[in-house]
Symmetry: C2
Subunit: 212 residues, 2 copies
């Protein structure tokens, strides 16, 4: 929440509060959590940050650019949570993949509006916001690594690790998005059911769906 420990130290307080860019992003995150995607507007964000309605234009070309910066921070937060989960997980690649999927889904359920914003079409043109685009790929890259290590240890089947990662990522992403869209009403407000769904998804992925 307060990432400005060193910038605050200097008495530079240039005109307003030293780091308006960050203040705007934080205000946007807060509004997203409180009011959802439809509550996000530029003037409201500026008001919340305590500046006039066009101060943001000093830091962002337009509304979309601020939205992109918010989404980018979302991807960084998600990546941090995934890495923390991996650090606390067993060496077993199966357990690691499940840990990644669990972080992904917990993050989505705790930040549904942010998650929607992150996957709202901002990265369609992947060169429009290059830092957003590359931030969005970090979870993918982490998963590729885990799968490669699993293959080296002969725990995971052979095959192009990128393709295998697309499969695993699609599964966790789909479950996350269906959950926040409330398409699986049994799981609404019920963490046990969410965990059960996660377990079943991963188990089916590991074992396969077909009768052997």
């Amino acid at each position: 929440m307060s990432e400005d420990s060193e910038t605050k130290r200097q008495p530079l307080k240039s005109y307003h509060h030293g780091d308006l860019r960050n203040a705007l992003i934080q205000a946007g995150l807060a509004l997203l959590a409180e009011e959802g995607v439809s509550g996000l507007d530029l003037r409201k964000v500026a008001r919340r940050a305590g500046v006039s309605h066009n101060a943001p234009y000093r830091h962002f070309a337009d509304k979309q650019a601020l939205w992109a910066a918010i989404a980018e921070l979302g991807f960084h937060q998600l990546t941090v949570q995934i890495q923390a989960a991996l650090a606390n997980s067993a060496e077993d690649p199966g357990a690691q993949l499940t840990a990644i999927a669990r972080s992904y889904i917990v993050f989505a359920c705790e930040n549904p509006a942010l998650m929607r914003e992150m996957f709202s079409g901002l990265t369609i043109d992947r060169f429009a916001y290059p830092t957003l685009y590359s931030a969005s790929k970090a979870p993918f890259t982490i998963t590729v690594d885990v799968i490669q290590r699993g293959q080296t240890g002969e725990v995971i089947v052979v095959g192009d690790p990128v393709y295998l990662t697309v499969v695993a990522w699609s599964l966790m992403h789909g479950l996350a998005m269906l959950l926040i869209e409330n398409q699986i009403p049994e799981a609404r407000e019920n963490d046990d059911v969410v965990e059960e769904l996660l377990q079943r998804c991963m188990q089916q992925l590991y074992d396969g769906l077909m009768q052997k």
Copy 2:
């Protein structure tokens, strides 16, 4: 496109063109396809339908209600395509699941903005737009049926068919959403890669990820 063959017959032409409600939905679909989600606004939709900017309020409580109606039609179109694909597919449950997934992904890639609108949070409160919510579950229900038939024929593993469907649906939904968000750049504008990804997803789902 033209679903008004019988309403046009009568000379009822009440005031404007007999079925404004439908004309507004069609105009919205067209705008969505042409300009994306951000191009959707109520006044523009009304203009395109040839009516004043508040005529829509005779048919929809507010902007969201029209958006919900558009999303609902999207789910119906998706359902029709899935059913058509199933009708042309072999009896084999594996082939049928792949056919469902292929329709789902082709629909998403051909209508990315509509797909985003369909899963944009409108169904979070699943009682806000009940017909939208029930329309959104049709693909799920169809998949449950296929899986149940596969279990009866002892081709698909035993287990709660609803849970198994959540797994399969998450996988196809996740792949579809990642594709339209351009998170898998190799697949951009390349139908062969999309088909390859689909095949790998389904194969991995059927066979399992782990070394046996």
